[in-house]
Amino acid sequence: MGLLSDPNRRKALTSLLTRLNTPICVVCYLAGIAWFMGLAFEPFTLRTYMSENAMGSTMVEERFSSGERALSTAREFAAQKKKVGGMPVDWLVKTMQARGLEVFTQSFSRNLPFPDESKERFMVRGTNVYGILRAPRAPRTEALVLSAPCSPGNSNNQAVGLLLGLAQYFRSQIYWAKDIIFLVNDHDLIGMQAWLEGYHHTNITGMEYTPLQGRAGSIQAALSLELSSDVITSLDLVLEGLNGQLPNLDLVNLFHAFCQKLGILCTIQGKLQRSDWDTVEGYTHAAQTMMLMVLKQASGRPWGEHGLFLRYHIEAASIHGINSFRQYKTDTTTIGRLLEGMVRKLNNLLERLHQSYFFYLMPSLTRFVSIGYYMPAFGLLTAILLLRALDLWVQLGSPTAVMEDGVGDAEVQSSPGVLSLLTPVVISHLTGVALYTLPVLSQELAVQHFPVSETEAVVLTAIAIYTAGLALPHNTQRLISGEGTEQGWKVLKLVALLYLAVLLGCTALINFSLGFILAVTLVPAAACVTPHVPKALSAVAMVLLSPGCTVLYCIFLFQELQEAPVTLSEGWMLFLSVISQGVLDHALYGSLVYPLLSLLVYPCWLLFWNILFWK
């Protein structure tokens, strides 16, 4: 730090940074992107390994054999479901009781803020059924959860059947050290949310539910099962949870170890692993898998039932059976054995899963990128913001240079006035607040005056406010404080740069993917904008780099990576539904992406927009 406390050398360093600012920024940006893309290259990643000793050395022997019986239970369940026209609560209670479990039910109801068009529901009312298998000689302090959703239509019956089959088999074993909760939840995520809130006796989302009667202590881990066919070709592991939280990497290792042992094809992001990492195709494949994970994590929504457990510090993952046209099929008995093995290993745990990583990206099921490797990519991007801020700070801090140039009004420039700074900040944030609150609040009004449904009203109001926000700030700013000064926009930009750097930094700490994606588009916009560039062209560029458009690109990219490309109009429709889903996820499960974008990121972007139109 002697370098900085010596004024001469400090001056030399700052002048270097100021002089070479733009090239350094460009290099940083390119290096950041290159680093990120390099993460998918296999030699740069680490091989996964089991960190938890309690799960590593003791291989268990799987003996589950009643897969056929599980399938017949599944058919019975399907018949009962059809008969009742929903969740067959009484049948489930009776069946679980017959298997020797302590059975309890929980009914819940939830009013959605506006109808969910993709799932066609508005007022949700349902009942969860769960049975607790009490471990012998255990004091009810620890539990594991196995869950399967009772989905509408014909899907997921096999999952419930297998769950009940496993319950019967587990009941006759003596080695359990933790209670096992078998949960069949109604209305997928909403039911799961109700159950979890009931179990932990909290109320974060305004759900109405009846209190739970039976509990089994603190839940150590959970597995959620989705199976819709009698045989499957592969099992897909879903990790991404609410707000981009991920389960401990050991849970992934556990799944992979048993898939290997039992010879089941296993995938992540629906993509099989390839062995030819040194070819272009191999690398592209890994990069696609990793990008899918990044996009899913950035969305902040739970991608399976397990996603809601993570909030409660319960390691959880969803296992999804896929039946495609491959030759090689796996039967229910083998899946049952996989689950038996996983649950037995989890049962052996002495402590919660904590040994392995919580922050990682996976280019394939056996390779991972830990936080230490991916954070530099993000750090390089945010460094640009700091460098630009430094540049501005130096420019602002040396008025002597301006004096020597003969521009006389240094007195006026040195005090840009708090008001002229505060006005754009406050106004952009008010726009953000409007974007956050108005769509849901004004849906009734919109439905009365325009021929749209509630959902459309919400989405279109959001887009309208978003667009109106573009016109607001600079107009108002001119109205209130008259002419802006040269010094003024520089101070404002300095503030905005630091604000964006802090904002992205905090976001990336919690949800790396979201932070990184936002940084990729917002950083160039923030770095380049000044009032002196050609207005029309840069306005278009700014809009293209705004958070809203970022979401749109992500949708196209996601569809492309999933090998289901969409046309522009389909993409637009998807965009609309993603916005409504984002608002709903926030209301139903407490996902933070929508408030983050509307209350913080969008206002921050508006500040830069404001600078572009500085008078």
């Binding site: 004024p7 004091p139 006796h201």
Partner: protein, 646 residues
């Protein structure tokens, strides 16, 4: 409703008050009534002997009741049914000072499981506490325990080791409840000067005797409950300074604890009921609990002198699903892989009871061989019928010279029980900063309210916010009539909360209190900190209105003149309910790489923060090159002279 509540409150307080004054005058005599009858083994009247045994059996179930003041004048309510003249000859114990009795109760449970409860009672006629004479002669009483009693001046000692949680909703009430893990409570004699020192040494000694981790009992988990644990034996000690209570919820009970426990028996595991105790079977069960209770009792009718009673109990619940191998039948052999062939020769009585109450007309299960002896008693507030097998009689063993009662289930009964009183406890909330402990107490009595004493011991590292303590029943606040709270001291003592709460009929009373999780010092974490930290069970003690009293319409078993006013001992019974222990996660540092963490933190703090602070707060100026020494000297001289400096 409120008036009724007050009345019951008052009654309970009265009961407590009478307890304080117990064993003076009248009360002493009352207690004599009871102890006389249980210790009267030498009488030759067969009827009397049987009645005594029955009483004994009932007393087992009523362990707590007799401690609760009025409960002492307990009377037999048993009726002998299958009594014939052929049982005229009875076993008479040798007239000696010490006595030993053994018995086992088998109860087929509602869920299809089976509950086996052993009780061994050794009576030791010596009185070292009063006379100051050292006890040196031991016959049946184990010397190891006798020496401990005299050395540490123990009045009463209760210790239990339990593996598993008693499932009240499926199994009903246990005869002697115990919390998961180890529990120890001791009343010291009032002559003890330094109770804490005695307690500390005692726990260490017991730790050695029972091969258990009782040495982990220290001041941070020891409390002195003011009302929940009263002496069960003789004595008027009510000053709770002489009481110490501690639980170790983490204690794991296994064979190593069973072996020393078996060694305390006069016959060991060589003969009598104890041959059944093979650990590979006892620990292949849903619930296992073993206990030792020592208390002073009256030796004779007048209670002129006292003697010691050692009661060893062992409770096991066998699981229908895992050990039944698909068949719904139980036999002694199936449960213990042994059968009974003889009584312990030192025992004055040795019996096996099988609960056949629910088997009216033999529709629930078949019991073979059928026993000619049947006894009825009010156990835990309910009238129960038992088949009795007397092991001291030859004909019990039949042709095969072994006794192997077989119980075959005929139908299933799967719906859960609704016990009159039960409780559950859990931690709510998420995150590692705060949380809330919920204790739900269910009163399932249809029309009677009754008070319960709730004892909560919480370790210091959960900092209770007592101002958030709420007690609600039926959506209304329920103000406890008695609260005893002792705040914790960090690293010294735990929180102690005792409350007397009135439970309205047919209600759930919820006691909640918020807490904050403390950040421990890094050496204070256990080797497995991510497992979590245990909070011991809450204890709920209550006088519960009995099922017998509920049934006011039953006149077919009793004469009319006896059934209008409920008698005290039938109207309510003492019950203790333990909730499940809690497992709470505390904020835990990442111990897997402490070195990295320490290095990183130090670097960030020292280099990053320090120098940035320096840069931000200082103003930097270019130093003028220092003046040469000669010039400075010249300046000093010039200043003295008053001329301008160079």
């Amino acid at each position: 409703m409120a008036a009724l509540g007050c009345k019951w409150d008052a009654l309970f307080v009265l009961a407590l008050a009478s307890l304080m004054l117990s064993c003076k005058g009248d009360d002493l005599k009352k207690s004599n009534d009871y102890t006389e009858s249980v210790s009267g083994g030498e009488q030759s009247n067969p009827h009397a002997v049987k009645a005594d045994d029955l009483q004994q059996n009932e007393a087992d179930g009523h362990e707590g009741e007799e401690r609760d003041g009025g409960g002492r004048q307990w009377q037999p309510t048993g009726v002998w049914m299958g009594e014939g003249p052929e049982h005229g000859e009875t076993f008479t114990a040798p007239p000696s000072k010490d006595q030993f009795q053994e018995e086992m109760v088998l109860r087929p449970l509602h869920s299809g499981d089976i509950y086996a409860s052993f009780q061994f009672r050794t009576q030791w006629d010596t009185d070292f506490l009063h006379d100051g004479n050292k006890a040196s002669h031991y016959r049946l009483f184990p010397k190891s325990l006798g020496q401990v009693l005299s050395k540490f001046s123990v009045r009463e000692l209760h210790i239990s080791f339990t593996q598993g949680y008693w499932r009240t909703m499926q199994w009903g009430q246990p005869f002697i409840p115990s919390p998961p893990g180890a529990e120890l409570w001791v009343w010291f004699h009032h002559t003890v000067m330094d109770v804490d020192e005695n307690w500390k040494e005692l726990t260490n000694v017991l730790s050695g005797i029972f091969c258990a981790s009782l040495n982990f009992i220290d001041s941070t988990n020891t409390v002195e409950p003011s009302a929940s644990f009263k002496p069960l034996g003789l004595g008027n000690a009510t000053d709770h300074r002489f009481l110490r209570y501690a639980t170790l919820p983490r204690e794991i009970v296994c064979t190593e604890n069973l072996t020393p426990w078996k060694k305390l028996l006069p016959c060991g595991s060589k003969a009598g009921l104890a041959v059944l105790m093979k650990s590979e079977k006892l620990f292949h069960s849903s619930f296992h609990s073993q206990a030792v209770h020592i208390r002073p009792i009256c030796k004779d009718w007048q209670c002129t002198s006292t003697s010691w009673e050692l009661r060893q109990t062992l409770n096991v619940v066998f699981d229908l699903y895992t050990s039944g191998q698909g068949k719904k039948e139980w036999s002694l052999f199936k449960m213990f892989s042994r059968t009974l062939t003889e009584a312990c020769p030192l025992a004055s009585s040795s019996k096996v009871y099988v609960d056949v109450t629910d088997n009216k007309g033999g529709e629930l299960f078949d019991l073979t061989p059928a026993s000619p002896l049947v006894s009825t008693a009010v156990v835990l507030g309910d009238r129960r019928t038992y088949s009795v097998y007397d092991l001291t009689k030859k004909e019990t063993f039949g042709q095969l010279r072994s006794l192997n009662p077989l119980l075959r289930w005929k139908r299933e009964s799967d719906e859960m029980l609704r016990p009159l009183l039960h409780a559950e406890r859990y931690v709510s909330g998420f995150g590692l900063q705060t949380g809330e402990i919920h204790t739900c107490i269910y009163n399932n009595h249809p029309y009677r309210a009754y008070p319960v004493l709730l004892l909560d011991t919480v370790p210091w590292y959960l900092r209770l916010y007592v101002h958030t303590l709420t007690v609600t029943s039926k959506m209304h606040e329920n103000k406890p009539s008695y609260i005893h709270y002792q705040p914790s001291k960090d690293r010294v003592r735990p929180h102690l909360l005792e409350m007397l709460v009135q439970l309205p009929p047919h209600s759930v009373t919820e006691v909640t209190v918020q807490f904050e999780r403390a950040l421990l010092k890094w050496t204070e974490y256990t080797p497995d900190p991510n497992h979590g930290f245990y909070v011991g069970s809450s204890v709920i003690s209550a006088l519960v209105p009995s099922i017998v009293a509920m049934d006011t319409n039953s006149t077919h078993e009793r004469p009319l003149f006896s059934s209008f006013f409920p008698t005290k001992e039938e109207s309510s019974y003492f019950m203790r309910v333990y909730t499940e222990p809690l497992l709470v996660n505390l904020p835990t540092p990442d111990f897997s790489m402490p070195y990295n963490v320490i290095c990183l933190t130090c670097t960030v703090v020292a280099v990053g923060y320090g120098s940035f602070y320096n840069l931000l707060t200082r103003t930097f100026q270019v130093d003028e090159p220092s003046t040469p020494l000669a010039k400075r000297l010249a300046n000093v001289i010039r200043r003295l002279r008053g001329v301008p400096l160079l």
